[in-house]
Structures are given as structure tokens and as C-alpha cells.
Symmetry: C2
Subunit: 180 residues, 2 copies
DNA sequence: CTGTAATTTCAGTAATTTCTGAAAATTGTA
DNA sequence: TACAATTTTCAGAAATTACTGAAATTACAG
């Protein structure tokens, strides 16, 4: 671990805590991403000065997010961990998991609320707002689905399109027959 | 506050805590979104059973995110708060603020690390990974910039395009002369 | 099956974050 | 300016979350 690697690991520890992971999990994941070889729990604990059990819990969390790959070395009983080579796969997995954990329950809640007729003026307005939220979330998720279905190269090209997205919009609407 | 409104407010309280706000801030904001009239701090505290000072801190946090509008009623000294009518404006502001608080510092860190030549093999690999991260984050932010520059209608039309985005990609690349 | 290496669980503790009430500061009005 | 209404600050309390070490469990080699 060189100092600049350590700085990066610490930074992702801080950032992780703003993204729903805790500091430990953020640091472990950054370390795994920056390391060429697979690391075992003891390696991680020694490098980051976490207790063995803390590392175990962090790795379990990362596994529940499907963000690490478990590998075994021949003639070695320990479990070693790696991260996907393609960074896009990591991003896609995070989007997928956050959707499952956060977005889907919200969709369910909003939909079930909106099937009930409003009881009064106040609720009628609240439902109008909930309808707006629902619309945005539905659009965003259907669009996230599209992203999930693209391979990394296509996705990278789409992003590279950059400001062109605006220009392309009109043509897209003609093609799909959408827009008014 | 009808029961279904309260359910929604509580839900966003829970969700808020996964998005870097605390429960209080999430509940206050959900309440403001669902309420047609502007609310003052006392209204909010009474409805959600928070202390006056807790409401004050929550509103301060929301103001620092530029997510609430401060309004005054004639002949009334209290401060009242509302949320933007257009839900897209809310989403755009959140993207903008998260970028400022989380993405920009990360970009700075990665860039400053990557200008230093690697000291050894280990660091060379780490830099390769950091370069991948940097590439993705740069692409994502330039694309977020495009979104910021669109008005709500354009944005909504883009999302509605849905799966068409894939099809449109090839044409886009011809137009902008990008891709290989 | 036995023994050992490794991982996981979990109860208790430490650290952090959130929340409150009281006091201070600010704002607008007469 | 003085006063009252309102908001903000902040030190400490309460609640939550993270972390540890010890014990339990699992996995595998012989």
C-alpha cells in the first residue's frame, strides 16, 4: 500500500458513508479495487487495522451487494476476494441493487396509496404530488433498465455522446413516433 | 395529515437516511412536498412531533441543499416553507448538490493522484484502476451537465424515449462524428 | 470421523449521530 | 430605541450504529 493508494482508500471510506455503506465497507472495497491480486480477510484486516470480525461483516455486506467475487487459491484453504475488472459492471450492479432495496419499495408504496380515492381536499393534493413522484421514478427506472441491458462498450459510447444527446432527441422522437 | 400521507412521510424518512439525509430531514421534506400550503416550523414540529430546534436544524439542512423556498405571509412574521412545483427541479437540484459535495472532491483526488508517476508495480496497477474510475465519473458528470441544461419538458421527453435510446445511439454517433 | 484452519455470529462496548431544552441572537414593529 | 416574536445555537442526553473479542460454526485434509 503506497501512500497515494491509502489516501484513495480513506477517501472512499468517507464517501461510502454518504452512499449508504459504512466507512469500513467503503475502505475495504476501495482496497480490493486497487489491488491487482485477490486479498483474503486477514490481508484486509492487517492493511486497514480492522478486527477480523469487522472485515468479515464488511465482506458479507459487499457480497450481499454482489460487488465482490470469491476465489480460491490452489492448496490454500482461505477465501480470497476480487472485484470485477470492468468498472461499468460495478456501476451497473450498484444501480441494480439500490433499485431493488430503495426504489422498488417506494414504487409499491406510492402505487398502493394512489389506488385509494382521496378522502378530502388535502389528500387530493397530496396524491397529485405522489403521482408526480411516481411518474419520475417510473421513467427513471425504465431508463435504468435500458442501461442494464446494454454492454459496457455501448454504454461508454452513449456517455461519450455527451451534449449530442440533446440534438439526438428530436430524431429519436421521429423514429419512435413519440413526442407531440 | 391523513393516514396515507403519514405513511408516505414516514417512508421517506427511512429512505432519506439511505441517501445521506437523516430521518428528520426526510420526513420534513416529504411533508412539505405533500402540503399544498406553505408550512412554518411550528406546523412541522407539531405534525411530526419534533422539537422546535430539531425542525430548525432540518430546515437549515434543506436550505443548504436549496430544496426549499422561503415565503412570507402578509401580516405574519413567521417564515413559511414550500417546495418547487416541478418535481424535475427537485431532482436536478439534488443531482447538482450531490455532485458538488461528493463527486467534485473525488475528481480532484483522482486527478491529483494520477499526475504523479507510479513508484512501483503495485501503484501502476492502482493507477490503472483509478484511471478507469476517473473516466466513468467524468463521463457521468458531463452527461449530468447536459441534463442540468435541459428544461423539464425536454428531460421528460428524453426519459419517455426509453428503449429507443439504444436505437438512437448509432444515428447520434454519425451526427457528432464520434465513435469508431 | 477427527482435528485444525478458517469464517461467522453475537453480546457487550465504543463511537458517532441525532435530538432536546435553555439561552442567545436576530428580526420586525411600535 | 425598546420590546416581543421568532429563529438559531449549542452543550448535554438519548438513540443509533459500528466495532471488538470470545465463542460457535463451518469446511476441509488426512
Amino acid at each position: 500500500m503506497t501512500p497515494s493508494m491509502m489516501t484513495c482508500v480513506m477517501h472512499f471510506g468517507e464517501m461510502g458513508s454518504r452512499w449508504g455503506f459504512n466507512r469500513t465497507v467503503g475502505q475495504i472495497y476501495a482496497l480490493l479495487i486497487l489491488s491487482e491480486e485477490a486479498l483474503c480477510a486477514d490481508d484486509i484486516g492487517a492493511t486497514l487495522s480492522f478486527s477480523r470480525s469487522n472485515v468479515s461483516m464488511g465482506l458479507k455486506e459487499l457480497q450481499s451487494w454482489r460487488l465482490v467475487n470469491l476465489v480460491h487459491k490452489p492448496g490454500d484453504r482461505k477465501e480470497y476476494f476480487t472485484t470485477p475488472n470492468d468498472m461499468w459492471d460495478i456501476v451497473k450492479t450498484i444501480i441494480e441493487e439500490r433499485r431493488k432495496r430503495e426504489v422498488d419499495p417506494t414504487l409499491t408504496l406510492l402505487r398502493s396509496t394512489l389506488v385509494e380515492p382521496p378522502q378530502n381536499e388535502e389528500e387530493a393534493y397530496a396524491q397529485k404530488r405522489m403521482q408526480q413522484m411516481l411518474g419520475i421514478i417510473e421513467q427513471a427506472t425504465s431508463w435504468a433498465d435500458d442501461i442494464q441491458s446494454m454492454d459496457s462498450d455501448t454504454l461508454a459510447r452513449l456517455f461519450k455522446l455527451g451534449v449530442g444527446v440533446g440534438k439526438v432527441l428530436q430524431i429519436g422522437e421521429k423514429l419512435t413516433g413519440g413526442g407531440k
